[in-house]
Symmetry: C2
Protein backbone atom coordinates (compact mmCIF):
# COMPACT_ATOMS: atom_id res chain seq x y z
CA UNK A 1 0.00 0.00 0.00
CA UNK A 2 2.43 2.60 -1.27
CA UNK A 3 1.59 6.14 -0.26
CA UNK A 4 -0.34 5.29 2.91
CA UNK A 5 1.34 6.64 5.98
CA UNK A 6 1.81 4.77 9.23
CA UNK A 7 -1.09 6.29 11.23
CA UNK A 8 -3.54 5.33 8.47
CA UNK A 9 -2.17 1.80 8.27
CA UNK A 10 -2.34 1.50 12.06
CA UNK A 11 -5.97 2.64 12.03
CA UNK A 12 -6.82 0.09 9.33
CA UNK A 13 -5.17 -2.60 11.39
CA UNK A 14 -7.23 -1.57 14.41
CA UNK A 15 -10.45 -1.72 12.38
CA UNK A 16 -9.58 -5.16 11.04
CA UNK A 17 -8.91 -6.42 14.56
CA UNK A 18 -12.18 -4.86 15.77
CA UNK A 19 -14.12 -6.54 12.97
CA UNK A 20 -12.56 -9.91 13.85
CA UNK A 21 -13.50 -9.42 17.49
CA UNK A 22 -17.12 -8.50 16.68
CA UNK A 23 -17.46 -11.44 14.29
CA UNK A 24 -16.30 -13.89 16.93
CA UNK A 25 -18.24 -12.48 19.91
CA UNK A 26 -20.06 -15.27 21.64
CA UNK A 27 -19.07 -17.86 19.06
CA UNK A 28 -16.45 -20.54 19.20
CA UNK A 29 -14.41 -18.58 16.64
CA UNK A 30 -10.76 -17.56 16.56
CA UNK A 31 -8.94 -17.13 19.80
CA UNK A 32 -8.28 -13.48 20.75
CA UNK A 33 -6.17 -13.44 23.91
CA UNK A 34 -6.85 -10.73 26.50
CA UNK A 35 -4.16 -8.04 26.75
CA UNK A 36 -3.11 -5.10 28.92
CA UNK A 37 -0.64 -2.25 28.58
CA UNK A 38 1.28 -0.84 31.51
CA UNK A 39 3.55 2.20 31.67
CA UNK A 40 6.86 1.93 33.55
CA UNK A 41 8.21 5.45 32.88
CA UNK A 42 10.98 4.37 30.52
CA UNK A 43 9.13 1.39 29.02
CA UNK A 44 5.70 0.31 27.85
CA UNK A 45 4.81 -3.27 28.60
CA UNK A 46 2.32 -5.41 26.72
CA UNK A 47 0.84 -8.30 28.76
CA UNK A 48 -0.93 -11.09 26.89
CA UNK A 49 -2.81 -14.02 28.48
CA UNK A 50 -1.71 -17.09 26.53
CA UNK A 51 -1.76 -20.08 28.91
CA UNK A 52 -0.40 -23.25 27.36
CA UNK A 53 1.22 -21.54 24.38
CA UNK A 54 4.83 -22.61 23.86
CA UNK A 55 7.52 -19.98 23.24
CA UNK A 56 8.42 -21.84 20.03
CA UNK A 57 5.07 -21.06 18.42
CA UNK A 58 5.20 -17.32 19.21
CA UNK A 59 5.90 -14.63 16.63
CA UNK A 60 6.14 -10.88 17.18
CA UNK A 61 5.99 -8.52 14.24
CA UNK A 62 6.56 -4.80 14.73
CA UNK A 63 5.44 -2.51 11.89
CA UNK A 64 5.50 1.24 12.48
CA UNK A 65 3.08 2.01 15.28
CA UNK A 66 1.67 -1.50 15.57
CA UNK A 67 2.84 -4.80 16.95
CA UNK A 68 1.25 -8.14 16.08
CA UNK A 69 1.57 -11.25 18.21
CA UNK A 70 0.68 -14.67 16.88
CA UNK A 71 1.05 -18.23 18.09
CA UNK A 72 -0.95 -21.33 18.85
CA UNK A 73 -1.69 -24.06 21.31
CA UNK A 74 -2.78 -27.55 20.40
CA UNK A 75 -6.39 -28.61 20.91
CA UNK A 76 -6.77 -31.08 23.77
CA UNK A 77 -7.11 -34.73 22.83
CA UNK A 78 -10.17 -36.59 24.15
CA UNK A 79 -12.08 -33.42 24.88
CA UNK A 80 -15.57 -34.07 26.28
CA UNK A 81 -16.71 -30.50 26.88
CA UNK A 82 -15.70 -26.97 27.74
CA UNK A 83 -15.06 -23.49 26.43
CA UNK A 84 -11.29 -23.01 26.22
CA UNK A 85 -10.15 -21.60 22.87
CA UNK A 86 -7.54 -23.59 21.00
CA UNK A 87 -5.53 -23.42 17.82
CA UNK A 88 -3.95 -20.32 16.33
CA UNK A 89 -4.36 -16.73 17.50
CA UNK A 90 -3.25 -13.38 16.10
CA UNK A 91 -3.79 -10.00 17.67
CA UNK A 92 -2.52 -6.57 16.62
CA UNK A 93 -1.97 -3.59 18.89
CA UNK A 94 -1.28 0.08 18.29
CA UNK A 95 1.36 1.34 20.71
CA UNK A 96 -0.39 3.59 23.25
CA UNK A 97 2.68 5.89 23.17
CA UNK A 98 5.64 6.24 20.81
CA UNK A 99 8.30 3.57 21.26
CA UNK A 100 11.78 3.20 19.84
CA UNK A 101 11.70 0.73 16.92
CA UNK A 102 12.77 -2.88 17.50
CA UNK A 103 13.39 -2.51 21.23
CA UNK A 104 10.84 -5.17 22.25
CA UNK A 105 12.02 -7.78 24.74
CA UNK A 106 9.71 -10.71 25.32
CA UNK A 107 9.29 -13.00 28.31
CA UNK A 108 6.83 -15.87 28.79
CA UNK A 109 5.99 -16.74 32.38
CA UNK A 110 3.03 -18.49 34.04
CA UNK A 111 1.11 -18.33 30.77
CA UNK A 112 1.55 -14.57 30.34
CA UNK A 113 3.64 -13.07 27.55
CA UNK A 114 5.22 -9.73 28.56
CA UNK A 115 6.92 -7.57 25.96
CA UNK A 116 8.85 -4.48 27.09
CA UNK A 117 9.27 -1.63 24.58
CA UNK A 118 11.50 1.38 25.17
CA UNK A 119 9.51 4.63 25.15
CA UNK A 120 10.59 7.43 22.83
CA UNK A 121 9.68 10.00 25.49
CA UNK A 122 10.38 8.54 28.96
CA UNK A 123 8.14 9.86 31.71
CA UNK A 124 9.89 11.72 34.54
CA UNK A 125 7.46 11.95 37.40
CA UNK A 126 9.19 10.85 40.59
CA UNK A 127 7.40 13.53 42.64
CA UNK A 128 4.03 12.67 41.18
CA UNK A 129 4.64 9.04 42.09
CA UNK A 130 5.52 9.97 45.67
CA UNK A 131 2.26 11.89 45.93
CA UNK A 132 0.30 8.95 44.50
CA UNK A 133 1.87 6.57 46.99
CA UNK A 134 0.78 8.64 49.96
CA UNK A 135 -2.54 10.29 49.12
CA UNK A 136 -3.88 12.83 51.61
CA UNK A 137 -6.48 11.22 53.82
CA UNK B 1 -30.78 -27.09 52.48
CA UNK B 2 -31.67 -30.28 54.30
CA UNK B 3 -33.63 -32.77 52.25
CA UNK B 4 -32.31 -31.71 48.85
CA UNK B 5 -30.39 -34.44 47.15
CA UNK B 6 -27.08 -34.00 45.37
CA UNK B 7 -28.35 -33.90 41.74
CA UNK B 8 -30.75 -31.08 42.64
CA UNK B 9 -28.02 -29.14 44.43
CA UNK B 10 -25.68 -29.66 41.48
CA UNK B 11 -28.33 -28.36 39.08
CA UNK B 12 -28.89 -25.29 41.26
CA UNK B 13 -25.16 -24.65 41.29
CA UNK B 14 -25.09 -24.90 37.49
CA UNK B 15 -27.95 -22.41 37.18
CA UNK B 16 -26.22 -19.98 39.54
CA UNK B 17 -23.00 -20.21 37.53
CA UNK B 18 -24.96 -19.73 34.29
CA UNK B 19 -26.67 -16.64 35.69
CA UNK B 20 -23.30 -15.20 36.75
CA UNK B 21 -21.92 -15.83 33.28
CA UNK B 22 -24.89 -14.19 31.52
CA UNK B 23 -24.75 -11.19 33.85
CA UNK B 24 -21.10 -10.61 33.08
CA UNK B 25 -21.20 -11.21 29.31
CA UNK B 26 -19.51 -8.34 27.54
CA UNK B 27 -18.97 -6.37 30.72
CA UNK B 28 -15.85 -5.91 32.77
CA UNK B 29 -17.41 -8.03 35.50
CA UNK B 30 -16.07 -10.97 37.47
CA UNK B 31 -13.42 -13.15 35.95
CA UNK B 32 -14.74 -16.53 34.75
CA UNK B 33 -11.78 -18.57 33.48
CA UNK B 34 -12.29 -20.80 30.45
CA UNK B 35 -12.33 -24.53 31.22
CA UNK B 36 -12.30 -27.90 29.45
CA UNK B 37 -12.88 -31.50 30.51
CA UNK B 38 -10.98 -34.41 29.00
CA UNK B 39 -11.49 -38.14 29.51
CA UNK B 40 -8.46 -40.38 30.00
CA UNK B 41 -10.25 -43.71 30.49
CA UNK B 42 -9.43 -44.03 34.20
CA UNK B 43 -9.51 -40.30 34.99
CA UNK B 44 -11.40 -37.14 34.16
CA UNK B 45 -9.26 -34.03 33.88
CA UNK B 46 -10.43 -30.46 34.40
CA UNK B 47 -8.29 -27.84 32.60
CA UNK B 48 -8.64 -24.21 33.67
CA UNK B 49 -6.96 -21.20 32.00
CA UNK B 50 -5.64 -19.08 34.87
CA UNK B 51 -2.47 -17.33 33.66
CA UNK B 52 -0.69 -15.38 36.38
CA UNK B 53 -2.59 -16.99 39.26
CA UNK B 54 -0.28 -18.24 42.01
CA UNK B 55 -0.76 -21.71 43.44
CA UNK B 56 -1.00 -20.12 46.90
CA UNK B 57 -4.23 -18.32 46.03
CA UNK B 58 -5.98 -21.43 44.65
CA UNK B 59 -8.73 -23.31 46.47
CA UNK B 60 -10.55 -26.43 45.32
CA UNK B 61 -13.77 -27.47 46.99
CA UNK B 62 -15.42 -30.77 46.10
CA UNK B 63 -19.08 -31.20 47.14
CA UNK B 64 -20.98 -34.21 45.85
CA UNK B 65 -21.15 -33.98 42.09
CA UNK B 66 -19.61 -30.50 41.85
CA UNK B 67 -16.17 -29.02 42.21
CA UNK B 68 -15.52 -25.31 42.72
CA UNK B 69 -12.22 -23.63 41.95
CA UNK B 70 -11.40 -20.17 43.25
CA UNK B 71 -8.33 -17.96 43.32
CA UNK B 72 -7.10 -14.55 42.27
CA UNK B 73 -4.42 -12.62 40.54
CA UNK B 74 -3.42 -9.06 41.42
CA UNK B 75 -4.44 -6.18 39.17
CA UNK B 76 -1.47 -4.73 37.29
CA UNK B 77 0.01 -1.54 38.66
CA UNK B 78 0.26 1.44 36.28
CA UNK B 79 -2.30 0.02 33.87
CA UNK B 80 -3.00 2.31 30.91
CA UNK B 81 -5.43 0.15 28.96
CA UNK B 82 -6.52 -3.35 28.06
CA UNK B 83 -9.04 -6.09 28.67
CA UNK B 84 -7.40 -8.69 30.91
CA UNK B 85 -9.59 -9.68 33.85
CA UNK B 86 -8.05 -9.33 37.30
CA UNK B 87 -8.92 -9.97 40.90
CA UNK B 88 -10.80 -12.95 42.28
CA UNK B 89 -12.52 -15.70 40.31
CA UNK B 90 -14.76 -18.60 41.30
CA UNK B 91 -16.21 -21.20 38.97
CA UNK B 92 -18.20 -24.35 39.75
CA UNK B 93 -18.41 -27.46 37.62
CA UNK B 94 -20.60 -30.55 37.64
CA UNK B 95 -18.53 -33.65 37.00
CA UNK B 96 -19.38 -34.90 33.48
CA UNK B 97 -19.14 -38.49 34.80
CA UNK B 98 -19.11 -40.01 38.29
CA UNK B 99 -15.78 -39.70 40.08
CA UNK B 100 -14.48 -41.20 43.29
CA UNK B 101 -14.72 -38.61 46.09
CA UNK B 102 -11.62 -36.64 47.08
CA UNK B 103 -9.33 -38.14 44.44
CA UNK B 104 -8.53 -34.80 42.78
CA UNK B 105 -4.85 -34.10 42.10
CA UNK B 106 -3.99 -30.58 40.98
CA UNK B 107 -1.08 -29.28 38.93
CA UNK B 108 -0.41 -25.70 37.78
CA UNK B 109 1.74 -25.34 34.67
CA UNK B 110 2.16 -22.60 32.05
CA UNK B 111 -0.88 -20.80 33.46
CA UNK B 112 -3.18 -23.85 33.21
CA UNK B 113 -4.57 -25.62 36.26
CA UNK B 114 -5.15 -29.34 35.63
CA UNK B 115 -7.05 -31.43 38.15
CA UNK B 116 -7.22 -35.22 37.69
CA UNK B 117 -10.17 -37.07 39.23
CA UNK B 118 -10.45 -40.85 39.38
CA UNK B 119 -13.50 -42.13 37.50
CA UNK B 120 -15.97 -44.39 39.29
CA UNK B 121 -16.46 -46.39 36.09
CA UNK B 122 -13.21 -46.51 34.10
CA UNK B 123 -13.63 -46.77 30.35
CA UNK B 124 -12.20 -49.92 28.74
CA UNK B 125 -12.06 -49.29 25.02
CA UNK B 126 -8.64 -50.29 23.71
CA UNK B 127 -10.13 -51.77 20.52
CA UNK B 128 -12.32 -48.75 19.88
CA UNK B 129 -9.24 -46.55 20.29
CA UNK B 130 -7.31 -48.62 17.75
CA UNK B 131 -10.13 -48.20 15.26
CA UNK B 132 -10.23 -44.45 15.87
CA UNK B 133 -6.51 -44.15 15.34
CA UNK B 134 -6.65 -45.79 11.90
CA UNK B 135 -9.95 -44.84 10.27
CA UNK B 136 -10.83 -46.50 6.97
CA UNK B 137 -10.02 -44.22 4.08
Amino acid sequence: MVGMNEPVLARLQQLMTLREEVETLGSGGPWIPAADWTDEDTHLILHLDIPGVSADSLELLEEGSTVTVSGERPALARLIGGDRPAGAFRRSFTFPQDVLPQTGEAQLRHGILSVRFQKRHPTIDVHAEDLDAHPAE
